[in-house]
Every structure is written in structure tokens, then in C-alpha cells.
């Protein structure tokens, strides 16, 4: 640790995995849900009834390369 402090540019202390994990679980889940709504909702599967989400994100879904129709 004292070695890392004496030469901060050469050997930066990485953020411990146990500090990242909780953020990964909650932030990751939130982000995955967002990707699902843009990429697949009301296409392959549907959490909400109808076609509103599908049609709203339609052009983005095509351009971002997700399968559609």
C-alpha cells in the first residue's frame, strides 16, 4: 500500500471488486431492463400489452440492429 502511495501514476490502486458488485447488481439490472425495452419489448416477448412501446422505439430498434417484426 505504501508502495502504491509513493508512485500513484505507475501503480494505481484498482477499486476492489466487493465495492463494484452491489452497483453492478442494481445498476446492471436497471440498465439491462432499459436495453430490454428498447431491444425486445413487444417483439419477441411482451411485459406490457399492445404495440405502443414497439412502435415508439421502432426506428431505433432497427438502427441499433435488434431483430424486429
Amino acid at each position: 500500500m505504501s508502495k502504491a502511495l509513493s508512485a500513484p501514476a505507475a501503480s494505481l490502486a484498482p477499486i476492489p471488486v466487493r465495492d463494484i458488485l452491489p452497483w453492478l447488481v442494481f445498476g446492471g439490472l436497471f440498465c439491462l431492463l432499459a436495453i430490454y425495452f428498447v431491444g425486445a419489448e413487444q417483439g419477441a416477448t411482451a411485459l406490457l400489452p399492445g404495440h405502443f412501446m414497439h412502435e415508439l422505439v421502432h426506428d431505433g430498434r432497427h438502427l441499433l440492429a435488434f431483430p424486429c417484426h
Binding site: 502504491a4 500513484p8 501514476a9 505507475a10 501503480s11 494505481l12 490502486a13 484498482p14 477499486i15 471488486v17 465495492d19 463494484i20 452497483w23 453492478l24 445498476g27 446492471g28 436497471f30 440498465c31 439491462l32 432499459a34 436495453i35 425495452f37 428498447v38 431491444g39 425486445a40 417483439g43 419477441a44 416477448t45 399492445g50 404495440h51 405502443f52 412502435e55 415508439l56 422505439v57 421502432h58 426506428d59 431505433g60 430498434r61 432497427h62 438502427l63 441499433l64 440492429a65 435488434f66 431483430p67 424486429c68 417484426h69
Partner: protein, 239 residues
């Protein structure tokens, strides 16, 4: 620290989504309109009634496209921020901007380029309704496989770099990624639902626009995050 990096990533992603949507509107929308015209003509020829429009085309190509790209950008940016939290101090040297550039390149290759080589983007009018489930599953499997290949490549490259030098480590990482991604691409079944008379130039232009949109998205996430990133000294602080 991690929460702040997550938020910075999402903010960079939101702005990147704005730029990507602007690019998509300019480069991709003409192809989408042409493809929809082809689709309508084909449906009319087959005697099918026109589908009801819930969201108007004006909203779809404007606010809809921007909303989709910005939400997607923010989500990718969030993962980018978390990946940065892990990568910083582990790969790419001490400069946070270099780490951000490396991650953005890796993200584009793993989540846009490699999946597009196996399952290229398709404009409207391509794709049967009854295969959407299988096509979506295959696409996400390819993304996941490609991302796993990238993580494997980074871990291998890092280990070898410590022993045999940065150049050999990086080169081995590239070989590991290409081999593993190719392996996944060869194993997964191919999908081709392009109608026989679909204009080839339209397909090419749309796919190019799609890849361009994602290139803009990932570049902007990388640059945006680098601009928003605290200096190396702040990152090494433990708070």
C-alpha cells in the same frame, strides 16, 4: 466512487445516444422509409389490409428514434461506467482517458461489430413475424458470447502482458477474441429472411447506417466519459 462512475457513464451514454440518433436520422431514415414503402407495396400486392398505426411515422422517426437511442445509450453507458470502475488500475495503464478509449473500442467490437457480422441489422420488411422469438434469442446469445470472448481476451492479454510485455499480451488478446467470437459465430445457426426481390443497395445502405449509428454511439460514450472522468489522482483516492 463506483456510483459516481456509473452515473458519469449513464450521462455520457445519454449524450452519446443523442448524437447517435442524429446520425441515424440523417444516415438511416431514408433507407427505413424506402423499406417501409417496399413493405407496404408488398402487403398491398398480397391483398393484406394496411396495419393500423399506433405511433405516427413522424413520431417514430423523430422523438421515438431519439428516445430509443438515448435510453439504450444511457444503459450501455451505465455498464461502461461499471466496466471502467473495474478496468481502471487493472488494464490500459494509468491514464483514465486511455482506459475509456480502450473500453469504448472493445465495447463497439464486442457488442456491435461482431454481432453484426453474424446477424446483420435488417430494415423494416425483412423478418418473418413467427421467427421473431428465435431471432431475438440468437441475437442476444451472439452478443453474450461475443462479450464473454472479449472478457476472456482481456483477462488472457493482461496475464500475458505482465509476463511477456504489453505488445505480446495485446496481440494474444486480439487472437483470443477473434478465435472465440468466430467459434460462436460458426456454431450458431444463420438467419436469412431477405425477400428475393429486396433492393440490394437499400439493404447495404441500411446496414452501413446501422453500423455507423453504433460507431457514433460507442465513440461518443468513450470520448464523453473521458471528458467527464476525474483525473487519475482522484480515482486512486479510496472514497
Amino acid at each position: 466512487m463506483v456510483g459516481s462512475l456509473l452515473l458519469r457513464g449513464m450521462l455520457a451514454g445519454l449524450l452519446a445516444g443523442l448524437l447517435a440518433a442524429a446520425f441515424g436520422a440523417l444516415a438511416g431514415e431514408p433507407s427505413i422509409e424506402r423499406a417501409i414503402a417496399y413493405e407496404s407495396a408488398a402487403a398491398q400486392a398480397a391483398g393484406e389490409p394496411p396495419e393500423p398505426e399506433i405511433v405516427s411515422r413522424d413520431v417514430q422517426r423523430g422523438p421515438g428514434l431519439f428516445a430509443a437511442a438515448m435510453v439504450y445509450g444511457a444503459a450501455l453507458g451505465g455498464f461502461f461506467g461499471l466496466a471502467f470502475a473495474f478496468a481502471h488500475g487493472r488494464i490500459g495503464g494509468g491514464d483514465p482517458r486511455a482506459v475509456a478509449a480502450l473500453l469504448a473500442t472493445a465495447g463497439f467490437v464486442a457488442l456491435a461489430l461482431a454481432p453484426a457480422l453474424k446477424y446483420p441489422a435488417n430494415p423494416p420488411a425483412i423478418g418473418a413475424a413467427d421467427t421473431i422469438g428465435a431471432r431475438t434469442a440468437l441475437f442476444f446469445i451472439m452478443m453474450f458470447a461475443s462479450l464473454t470472448a472479449m472478457i476472456l481476451a482481456a483477462a488472457t492479454g493482461r496475464n500475458l502482458a505482465a509476463r511477456f510485455g504489453a505488445w505480446r499480451g495485446a496481440l494474444t488478446g486480439v487472437v483470443v477474441f477473434v478465435t472465440a467470437a468466430l467459434f460462436a459465430g460458426v456454431l450458431l445457426p444463420s438467419v436469412n429472411e431477405v425477400p428475393a426481390d429486396f433492393p440490394a443497395d437499400l439493404l447495404w445502405r441500411f446496414r452501413l447506417a446501422s453500423l455507423g449509428t453504433q460507431a457514433v454511439l460507442w465513440s461518443a460514450i468513450g470520448f464523453g466519459f473521458a471528458l467527464l472522468t476525474p483525473t487519475a489522482r482522484h480515482l486512486s483516492a479510496s472514497d
